[in-house]
Structures are given as structure tokens and as C-alpha cells.
């Protein structure tokens, strides 16, 4: 009979490990995908994982400051998505593709 006490009683550690795994899935997405839009989605996933870390720490340490950090992260993530997608649309209009290798051609 294995010791199940670590698995039961969900606490801070469980949330942090979950967030870490989601973050790494996001990294895999950024490294392995070629479509810029999917890469941006993976970045959003990573930011979400960070948010989860912040909120769980804020909950288990009894401070609301973590939630405010999440608020700001969300804002910045949305801004990043807006500008990033505007760039992607420009690239698509010019080359008709959204592959990351197109970005090699962008020279000043």
C-alpha cells in the first residue's frame, strides 16, 4: 500500500507543480511549432501557468498582492497578443504564410 498522504490534502505544492507542468507544455509548444499563431498561443499558456502560481501563492500566504500581479500580467498578455497578431497579419498579407521561418526575411 503506497503512502497516499502526499496525493491527498491538496495544498500549495500541488498547484505549483501543476503550474510548472503547464508552463513546460507551453515551452514545448514554442520550441516545436512552426506556426506563429500557435506559438503565441503557447506563450499565452505559459503566462496562464505563471498566473496560476501567483494566485496559489497569494491564497496560501494570505496576501492579495499576488492577485494584483495577475491582473497586470493579464493586461500585458492581452496587449502582447494584440500587437503580435497585428504583426502576424501584416506578414500574412505580404507572404501569404504564417510560418516562423518567414521572419528570417525581415531585415531592416
Amino acid at each position: 500500500m503506497p503512502n497516499l498522504s502526499v496525493i491527498a490534502n491538496v495544498g500549495l505544492g500541488h498547484y505549483l507543480v501543476l503550474a510548472a507542468i503547464i508552463f513546460c507544455i507551453g515551452i514545448i509548444g514554442v520550441l516545436l511549432r512552426k506556426n506563429i499563431i500557435v506559438m503565441m498561443m503557447s506563450i499565452e499558456l505559459m503566462l496562464n501557468a505563471v498566473n496560476l502560481t501567483f494566485v496559489s501563492l497569494s491564497h496560501f500566504m494570505g496576501s492579495a498582492a499576488g492577485q494584483i500581479a495577475v491582473f497586470f500580467i493579464m493586461t500585458i498578455a492581452a496587449a502582447e497578443a494584440a500587437v503580435g497578431l497585428a504583426l502576424v497579419v501584416l506578414i500574412f498579407k505580404k507572404y501569404g504564410e504564417v510560418n516562423i521561418k518567414i521572419f528570417e526575411r525581415l531585415k531592416g
Binding site: 491582473f71 493579464m74 493586461t75 492581452a78 496587449a79 497578443a81 494584440a82 497578431l85 497579419v89
Partner: protein, 118 residues
């Protein structure tokens, strides 16, 4: 939260299950014409590059930006009334500064022609 999830599951089960059950009731006579995209009875002109105005996604981008500003107003609205006596003026000026920049942004977008649809 749990009741919300349960209700969501219930709704999906209801919709999906009924679609599945109802599919046994109706007739089934597939034909080549029927499975073509519907274009008012004409033979479809397959054109992959449908030109879509950039405006649609520009509207979505502007929506995201303003939506964030609106979201920041909710916490403000909650505490505004209860703190009116002690910090009312402070909170008001804070938000007016925030809103002034928002309105300036709206004005810029307006003048740049991003809100004009031909």
C-alpha cells in the same frame, strides 16, 4: 463553482444526447448536391482566397484593449460608494485620469479612421 460545472455538463449532455437521438428519427438520403456548400442553389464557386476586410480583426484588437480598461473599472466601482466619505475625491480623480487617457485613445483611433466602415 461545482454547481456551475454540473449544469454545464448537464446542458452539453442534453444538447449532444438529443442531437444523437434525433439523428435516428429523420430520413437519411445523402446526395452529392446536398453536401455541397449552400449557395442559393447555384453550383458553388470554390474560391479559397475570400477577401475579408482587415477591419474585423482591428475591431477585435480594439475591443481587447478597451475591455481591459473596462475590467479595471469594476473594482473601482465596488469600493467607490463605501469609501465616498473618506477618499471619494481621491478615487474620483484617480479614475478620471485613467479615463482621460482612455478617451484620448478613443479620440486618436477615431481620427485615424479605424472606426470608419465604408
Amino acid at each position: 463553482m461545482l454547481p456551475v460545472l454540473i449544469l454545464g455538463a448537464l446542458v452539453i449532455l442534453f444538447g449532444g444526447g438529443l442531437i444523437f437521438l434525433v439523428s435516428f428519427l429523420g430520413p437519411s438520403k445523402p446526395s452529392a448536391e446536398k453536401s455541397m456548400p449552400y449557395e442559393c442553389g447555384l453550383v458553388g464557386v470554390e474560391k479559397r482566397d475570400t477577401k475579408v476586410s482587415v477591419k474585423y480583426y482591428l475591431v477585435a484588437i480594439l475591443f481587447i484593449l478597451f475591455d481591459i480598461e473596462v475590467i479595471f473599472m469594476y473594482p473601482w466601482a465596488i469600493i467607490y460608494k463605501s469609501n465616498l466619505a473618506e477618499a471619494g475625491t481621491f478615487l474620483f480623480i484617480e479614475m478620471m485620469f485613467f479615463m482621460a487617457i482612455l478617451i484620448f485613445g478613443l479620440f486618436y483611433i477615431w481620427k485615424a479612421g479605424a472606426l470608419d466602415w465604408e
